[in-house]
C-alpha cells in the first residue's frame, strides 16, 4: 500500500483523494501527533457509517435518530482523539462504547421523555384504528402480521401496542364505553386516514414489483439513498465508487422505475 510521509506542513490542497490512500494508523498519527485536520476529517467520514448503524439500533423510533446521530458523532470525535493505534486493537471496538455512551446520556436526558412515549402512544392509536378498519374490511379479526403489514410497523411494535391497549382496557373496565352513535363521527374520520394509507401501500406494491427488474447493486443504492437516507457521498464511500457514479446510477434506476410503473399506475 501507499505510504505517505506524515508532513504536517503539507499543503491542504492535497485534498481527500490523496488523503484517502492513507492507512488508518497513519491517519491517527497525523491527527494526534501533528494536528492534521484533514486526517481527522477523513477518520470521521470513514467511521460515520458506524455511528449511523448504532444510532439506528439505539433509536427505537425515527424521531430521536437525527439527534442521536449528532451526539454519536461527538462520541466518535472523542474516540478519535483518544484511540491508541499502537495497541493493535480495532478502532471500531474501541469507539462503540464511547459513541453509545454519548447516545445513552442524550437519550436519558432528552430523548426518552420527549419522544418515546409519544411515539408509543401514536402507534397504539394507529393499531386500534387498523384493527377496526381491517375487521370491517375483511369481516373478521386481523392477525398481528396483517396489522404489521398494513401499518408498516414491526411485529414487535404491534405487540407492544396491543399490550398497552390491554393494560388500558383492564384499568378502565368500569369507565363508560363510547356508544355506537357517539363513535360514528370519529370512526368515519379514521376511515379517511386509513384509506389514504392504503393507497400508499398499493403504490408500494407496484414499485416493489418493478424493483425486481433492477440489479442488486442498483436496488442497494436506492435503498441506501431513500430508505436509509444516506447522502450520495456516503453511499459512494460505502460501495467504493465515485459520487458522480452514484448520482448517475440513481438517476438511471429512477428513470427505469418510472418507465416500469407508469402503465401500472395508469391502470390503478
Amino acid at each position: 500500500m501507499h505510504t505517505s510521509t506524515l508532513d504536517c506542513d503539507a499543503p491542504h490542497t492535497v485534498g481527500l483523494i490523496e488523503a484517502s490512500r492513507r492507512q488508518p494508523d497513519e491517519l491517527f498519527l497525523a491527527w494526534q501527533r501533528h494536528g492534521d485536520v484533514l486526517a481527522r476529517e477523513e477518520l470521521m467520514e470513514r467511521h460515520m457509517p458506524l455511528v449511523r448503524k448504532l444510532a439506528r439500533r439505539y433509536a427505537r423510533s425515527s424521531e430521536p435518530f437525527e439527534d442521536l446521530l449528532q451526539v454519536g458523532s461527538l462520541g466518535l470525535l472523542n474516540a478519535i482523539d483518544r484511540f491508541d493505534p499502537s495497541r493493535g486493537r480495532p478502532f471500531g471496538a474501541f469507539a462503540v462504547p464511547t459513541i453509545l455512551g454519548e447516545m445513552r446520556r442524550y437519550f436519558r436526558d432528552a430523548g426518552w421523555a420527549l419522544h418515546v412515549p409519544r411515539a408509543a402512544k401514536e402507534r397504539a392509536l394507529a393499531v386500534r384504528g387498523a384493527v377496526e378498519h381491517l375487521q370491517a374490511e375483511q369481516g373478521r379479526s386481523p392477525t398481528v402480521n396483517q396489522l404489521a403489514q398494513f401499518l408498516e410497523f414491526d411485529v414487535e411494535d404491534v405487540l407492544e401496542a396491543l399490550t398497552a391497549m390491554a393494560a388500558y382496557e383492564t384499568t378502565s373496565l368500569d369507565a363508560p364505553r363510547t356508544t355506537v352513535d357517539g363513535a360514528g363521527a370519529s370512526y368515519a374520520e379514521t376511515m379517511g386516514g386509513e384509506d389514504e394509507r392504503y393507497e400508499l401501500i398499493e403504490s408500494d406494491v407496484v414499485v416493489c414489483a418493478a424493483l425486481t427488474h433492477l440489479s442488486p447493486r442498483e436496488r442497494r443504492i436506492l435503498r441506501m439513498r431513500y430508505v436509509e437516507d444516506l447522502t450520495q457521498s456516503a453511499i459512494a464511500a460505502e460501495i467504493g465508487i465515485s459520487q458522480m457514479q452514484v448520482s448517475r446510477l440513481l438517476r438511471r434506476s429512477l428513470d427505469r422505475l418510472r418507465d416500469l410503473t407508469q402503465s401500472e399506475f395508469e391502470a390503478l
Binding site: V96, P97, E156, V158
Partner: protein, 279 residues
C-alpha cells in the same frame, strides 16, 4: 418487589430473539424497571441472543436459556447456550472484543460492553457459553457482578418440540402475570391467531394467575407454551389436583365456543389447556 426472577428456555432460532424481548418487557413491568433502563437492557440482551442464534451451534438449532433477576441495586441477566463455546480465557472480563476469538467479535460485544455496567463471558459447567450482564437500577452504581443464582435443572422441553416451545419459570406469581401474557401474545401471533382470539386466550390464561391456585410457598410458577400447528398448548403449575379441576371448569365456562379442547393432566400437578386458533 425485592427479588424477582424469570428463567426462559427456548430454541436459539432468530425469530425467538423478539420473544426474549417480550419476556424482558414483562419482567421489567413486574419488577418496576424504568423504560429507559429497559431500552438499554433490551438492546444488550438482544445482541447476546443474536450471537447465540448465529454462532452457538455452528449455524444449527439448539437450546438457549435466558435468566433475569433483580437485587435491590441491580438487574442481573444471563444468556446461556450449550454450543461450541468461545475460544477465550475462561472467566475473563474482556476489555475489547479483540480479546475474544469468535462470533461476539462483531458489533455485538462492543455494544454489550457499552450498555451493561459489567460483563462476564464464561464457559459454564456443561459447556457452551454464558454471557452475564449487570445493569444498575436507577442511578446507583452496582459495580460488581452479582453472583449468578443457583439452579438449574433444565425446564424440560420435550425432545423434538424445541422449535415450538417456550418454557418459563417465574418468581413470584406477579412476574408471571406480566410475562406470561406477553409470551402467549407472541406465540399466538406467530401462529396466526387473530387479535380477538389472542385476547380470549389471554383471558383464560389469566385465570390461574388471579383466582386459584394458592401458589406453593416457593411462589414459583412454571409454564410451558407450545405452538402445535394452530393449537396453542399452555401448561401451568405446580398446583393441586383440585385447582386443576376448578380452573379447567372455569376455562370452559369462560370460552365455551372454542375451548372444546381443554384437557387436564390429572397425573401431574400441571393444568394443561389446548386452545385452538379457530372455533
Amino acid at each position: 418487589m425485592s427479588s424477582a426472577r424469570v428463567r426462559v428456555e427456548l430454541s436459539n432460532r432468530a425469530e425467538n430473539v423478539p420473544m426474549v424481548r417480550q419476556v424482558l418487557g414483562g419482567f421489567a413491568a413486574a419488577a418496576g424497571i424504568p423504560q429507559a433502563d429497559l431500552h438499554d437492557m433490551s438492546l444488550a440482551l438482544s445482541e447476546a441472543c443474536n450471537n447465540a442464534s448465529l454462532h452457538a451451534y455452528g449455524g444449527a438449532e439448539g437450546p438457549l436459556e435466558v435468566e433475569l433477576h433483580t437485587s435491590p441495586a441491580a438487574v442481573f441477566a444471563r444468556v446461556r447456550d450449550w454450543g461450541v463455546g468461545l475460544t477465550l480465557p475462561i472467566d475473563s472480563t474482556p476489555e475489547f472484543p479483540a480479546d475474544v476469538e469468535g462470533g461476539l467479535a462483531g458489533l455485538g460485544l462492543p455494544m454489550i460492553l457499552g450498555l451493561a455496567d459489567s460483563v462476564r463471558l464464561s464457559t459454564p459447567d456443561g459447556g457452551g457459553t454464558a454471557v452475564e450482564m449487570v445493569f444498575p437500577r436507577g442511578a446507583r452504581d452496582c459495580g460488581q457482578l452479582a453472583s449468578p443464582p443457583g439452579h438449574t435443572e433444565p425446564l424440560g422441553i420435550v425432545p423434538g418440540q424445541l422449535a415450538s416451545t417456550v418454557a418459563l419459570e417465574m418468581t413470584p406469581p406477579g412476574v408471571a402475570k406480566e410475562v406470561l401474557p406477553r409470551v402467549l401474545r407472541g406465540v399466538a401471533s406467530r401462529a396466526h391467531f387473530s387479535v380477538t382470539r389472542v385476547e380470549e386466550v389471554l383471558r383464560i390464561a389469566a385465570l390461574p394467575l388471579t383466582d386459584a391456585p394458592h401458589w406453593a410457598e416457593s411462589g414459583r410458577v412454571q409454564a410451558r407454551v407450545v405452538d402445535d400447528t394452530g393449537v396453542l398448548e399452555l401448561s401451568i403449575g405446580p398446583m393441586s389436583a383440585e385447582d386443576v379441576l376448578e380452573l379447567e371448569t372455569a376455562a370452559r365456562r369462560l370460552a365455551p365456543g372454542f375451548i372444546g379442547t381443554v384437557r387436564s393432566a390429572p397425573a401431574t400437578d400441571q393444568l394443561v389447556l389446548r386452545l385452538s386458533r379457530s372455533a
